[in-house]
């Protein structure tokens, strides 16, 4: 690797060190003032010759994972460790009075805390920690720590809780009905004109471009549908957990989290400490999918009990708490209207969505996809969010777009049938050249190539209809997702005395493979062997800041920072080698951890160079620069599904899925394929099985376990064929890579639903496509059966 940089400073005026840029996070654009790196590398364009980036390197942490040596939060033990458990509310709304004394008397119990033991109010996503005013079933009320986990649970069971239940609301319709009980007090009032109770401030959120009334008047064909999607639970196999240990006034927390710096900030705020007194560490984690981005009751329980007892405390959710109260993808009702000309051109898109968020969370709705996916002059989205007495939602892999894609892409197929057009052709006709929501061109959008390659691979035009009991069908769906990443993200590369490199960056590897792809980028940029690079992540004390691992941001945010840091270190190595070898820096190159002159006459390995430098340390520093202006950054894809439907039982068998995705340059094709396969399998679960069931009477979750909440098994995985376009997007950032973590889950369920409709000739308007819903549709009763409404 040679150093070839361009100076990004405006040489005509004083250098600007900080600039304003926009970053899209989970579908929302944020403005940030960020550092402008002194030197931005020349982008790795389409014809960049790269040796390590783009290779199918094996996952760097796979050996320790297959040998059971990778340590997760629950595996960590500390001298004198205590085990904590949390008491949770069994009612959905009302008041509770706790008698903690019986718990203190339980053998092995060391300490018990409830609201009375808190010195200050600690805010969580679902309200204040240990609040005695109850707003949802599963709300944390108290915590016990004991010498063993069993003793802690015996302590929990010994607590006497006296509940005064009050009426609760568990659904959107119940929450906004006149006279509904107040779920959450809010100082702000909803948008003007809507006085319904429990609407989230700002609801309804109306975004309109053009004029849909005119667009519908111009339409020659109109389809209207109402779609429903379920509450999906993240269901990471590793539950949320924390180990907390105090050393004087300093607190260390080992947490299973996607966001070490965010947890540190929240813990410092919650406990009234400075951020420098709190250290949060995450080494390995057993999945997150969006649920592990905040400090939770388990974090504060561990920290508070550890402070009170003077001993380290571990608090890990049991499965019931994990399924109940760690966030979820909220359910939606979406009323969709599409208008089009006879030739297929869309004239109007309308989506009115009702989304109950639970007791907290943020307004993550489906509007973005309706605004961005297709080219249409008249688009109107109306999102109404309500507070209800259920646990708070949180981001779940492509929040909003997954829900929206089922509705929009199903409606597109309905429109194609009305127009007697091929569904793929309809999508080609309405291809969005630019991001019409942001009114900017995409930096790069190869969705049409995804359509072409997917259709060819799938053999889209081959007939798949059948008669008899098992019916076969085909369907497809597409996706767009703002996956450009952005600043801030920082990295430090330290060259050790033996020439090996430590890359320090405060991001997290959820299992996505961040460690591996960052090692590839670092080795490529440093001119080092991959094995000479070690990635150190997720430690607020040792690694520089990067943001949470969410929004498909890590590769495109942290990758460039690592590249800059590694090239900064290489520049210094080359300067040192120049001094030692007597060769000008411009004539030196690094490859395989060796620096050589261009003519090959002289060379020195990193190891010998560092040996000669003695205790002089080379430290490279890198920051993610601002995003490009005037463009929108997105990742795109299309998926094609083939299904068989048993018309006697309503059972759906997904036979095959072909997925073609465009995420710019692919750093590691094997790991990228794994990501896509994983997204598809989660999307298949969303499409076919996954659904939180609440008891309407009590507001409690009825399927808070892995038996009754169905996630896909190996037997449910269809044949999956993945193609990645792998074309560098040098406009997006100088690595040419965009995000790929969330995009693949977006089109799977609608592709399957469209294939089912194609197979049986009837649309099923509600997910998941359970056998009884399919049978209901076949028997001419597409409406929801009882329980469906109440359970949401």
């Amino acid at each position: 690797m040679a150093i070839d940089t361009r100076d990004t400073r405006d040489t005509g005026t004083a250098p600007r060190r900080f600039v304003t840029t926009t970053v899209e996070v989970e579908g929302r654009e944020e403005t940030k003032v960020v550092e402008l790196p002194e030197h931005e590398p020349v982008p790795w364009g389409e014809d960049a010759e790269l040796a390590i980036v783009g290779q199918r390197a094996t996952r760097v942490d796979a050996p320790e994972k297959v040998r059971g040596r990778a340590r997760y939060t629950a595996d960590l033990t500390r001298p004198g460790l205590l085990h904590a458990a949390i008491l949770r509310s069994t009612i959905a709304r009302g008041k509770v009075t706790l008698d903690l004394a019986p718990a203190r008397a339980v053998d092995g119990v060391v300490d018990v805390i409830g609201a009375a033991e808190l010195e200050r109010r600690i805010r969580l996503a679902g309200g204040a920690l240990f609040d005695t005013t109850i707003a949802y079933a599963g709300q944390p009320l108290a915590a016990v720590c004991a010498e063993t986990a069993d003793a802690a649970w015996r302590g929990i069971h010994a607590i006497v809780a006296r509940y005064e239940a009050e009426p609760h609301v568990g659904t959107f319709d119940a929450a906004v009905a006149e006279g509904a009980p107040t779920v959450k007090r809010s100082s702000k009032k909803p948008a003007s004109g809507n006085t319904a109770p429990n609407l989230v401030p700002g609801s309804p959120d109306v975004i309109e471009r053009g004029n849909v009334t005119r667009g519908l008047a111009e339409a020659e064909v109109i389809v209207r549908r109402e779609y429903r999607t379920p509450v999906q639970i993240h269901t990471a196999l590793e539950p949320h957990g924390a180990v907390a240990e105090w050393d004087g006034d300093r607190l260390t927390i080992w947490e299973s989290t996607q966001a070490v710096f965010r947890v540190r900030e929240q813990v410092a705020l919650g406990l009234g400490m400075s951020q420098s007194s709190v250290r949060v560490i995450k080494e390995h984690m057993g999945g997150g999918f969006g649920a592990k981005t905040s400090a939770g009751a388990h974090t504060f329980a561990a920290a508070l009990l550890a402070r009170r007892t003077g001993r380290p405390v571990r608090c890990v959710n049991d499965r019931e708490a994990e399924q109940t109260d760690t966030g979820n993808r909220p359910c939606t009702t979406q009323r969709v209207t599409l208008g089009a000309r006879r030739d297929g051109r869309l004239t109007a898109i309308v989506c009115e969505a009702d989304v109950p968020l639970g007791i907290g969370g943020w307004e993550g709705g489906p509007a973005g996809l309706f605004q961005e996916m297709y080219s249409c002059p008249n688009v109107r989205t109306v999102e109404s969010f309500a507070w209800v007495n259920t646990p708070a939602m949180t981001a779940f892999r492509a929040p909003g777009h997954v829900e929206g894609a089922f509705a929009l892409e199903s409606a597109m197929d309905a429109l194609a049938r009305e127009l007697d057009l091929d569904p793929l052709e309809l999508r080609r006709i309405n291809f969005a050249e630019r991001d019409e929501k942001k009114n900017r061109p995409f930096s790069s959008n190869r969705l049409r190539e995804c359509y072409d390659r997917g259709a060819a691979r799938f053999d889209w035009d081959a007939p798949r209809t059948s008669s008899g009991r098992w019916r076969r069908g085909k369907g497809m769906a597409a996706q767009v997702w703002g996956a450009g990443g952005g600043p801030p993200a920082y990295a430090i590369v330290k060259i050790n005395g033996d020439g090996s490199a430590d890359v320090l960056t405060g991001t997290q590897d959820l299992g996505t493979g961040s460690r591996t792809i960052l090692a590839q980028i670092a080795a490529e940029s440093l001119g080092a062997r991959l094995g000479d690079v070690r990635i150190v992540l997720g430690d607020t004390e040792r690694t520089p800041y990067t943001g949470p691992s969410w929004g498909s941001m890590t590769t495109a945010s942290v990758g460039p920072a690592v590249r800059v840091a590694a090239e900064d270190a290489l520049r210094q190595l080359i300067e040192a080698a120049s001094e030692i070898l007597g060769v000008p820096v411009t004539h030196l190159r690094a490859n395989d951890s060796v620096i050589s002159s261009e003519d090959g006459a002289q060379s020195i390995s990193f190891r010998s160079l560092c040996d000669q430098l003695g205790d002089v340390m080379i430290i490279g520093r890198g920051a993610r620069g601002p995003n490009p202006t005037g463009v929108a950054l997105g990742s795109f894809g299309a998926q094609f599904a083939e299904v068989e439907v048993d018309t006697d039982t309503g059972v759906i068998r997904v036979v095959r899925i072909v997925a073609v995705h465009d995420a710019g340059r692919i750093i590691n094709p094997t790991l990228a394929e794994s990501q896509v396969e994983g997204g598809i399998i989660q999307g298949l679960g969303y499409g076919l099985f996954e659904e939180r069931v609440l008891d309407p009477a009590t507001g409690r979750m009825l399927n808070a376990n892995l038996h009754d909440y169905k996630i896909p098994t190996i037997g449910d995985a269809p044949r999956i064929e993945v193609e990645l376009l792998d074309v560098a997007d040098a406009t997006a950032n100088h690595t040419g890579a965009r995000g790929l973590a969330e995009p693949p889950i977006i089109p799977t369920a609608p592709a399957i639903a469209n294939a089912v409709a194609n197979a049986i000739g009837v649309e099923v308007l509600e997910l998941p496509l359970t056998p009884w819903r399919v049978l209901g549709a076949l028997n001419g009763h597409p409406e929801r059966s009882e329980g469906s409404q109440g359970s949401r």
Partner: protein, 161 residues
């Protein structure tokens, strides 16, 4: 009680209701078997218990009482590989990227080892049957399928048939 794990027999003071999982993790500090549902629904705690003929059977350690396995030979993920090398199933999981977050991986690997001990040349259907008790939320299933096929082939090669 006596417990034989990974070829080593140890004496332990174990409560009658202690699960094998809690003894392995808390007493022996073998944390490769994971607590994820603690009611036999996910397979993350899978360990191997040799049957009378010495063939390893997968057991959910979260549902097994430690005392019920006093005379058994137990293998955990830590006992599968030697210091010098990986078991062929582990090598295949690495090679085929049948690992994402890694939390379910020890259980997946051991379930696959048990399958291949019973059936050295399993069909896809047999792999699905044997592995359907081990959940993976990251969705590594296609890669697990490929890794097991590859390991089976490698192990048959090693044994000369």
């Amino acid at each position: 009680m006596r417990l034989t794990v990974n070829g080593r027999t140890c004496q332990l003071d174990v409560a009658p209701d202690a699960t094998l999982l809690s003894v392995l993790r808390d007493e022996l500090h073998l944390t490769g078997a994971k607590p994820a549902c603690e009611r036999g629904e996910c397979g993350a705690c899978t360990v191997l218990v040799a049957d009378t003929g010495g063939t390893p059977e997968p057991v959910y350690a979260c549902l097994a009482l430690a005392r019920a396995h006093e005379d058994d030979s137990i293998t955990t993920i830590e006992g599968l590989s030697s210091p010098t090398g990986s078991h062929p199933v582990q090598a295949a999981f690495i090679e085929h990227d049948a690992v994402q977050c890694g939390f379910c991986t020890p259980g997946q690997v051991l379930a696959a080892v048990a399958l291949l001990a019973r059936d050295p040349n399993p069909s896809d259907e047999a792999i699905v049957q044997a592995m359907s008790g081990n959940l993976c939320r990251c969705g590594t299933y296609p890669k697990i399928m490929r890794a097991i096929q590859s390991a089976a082939s490698a192990m048959r090669g090693t044994h000369g048939d």
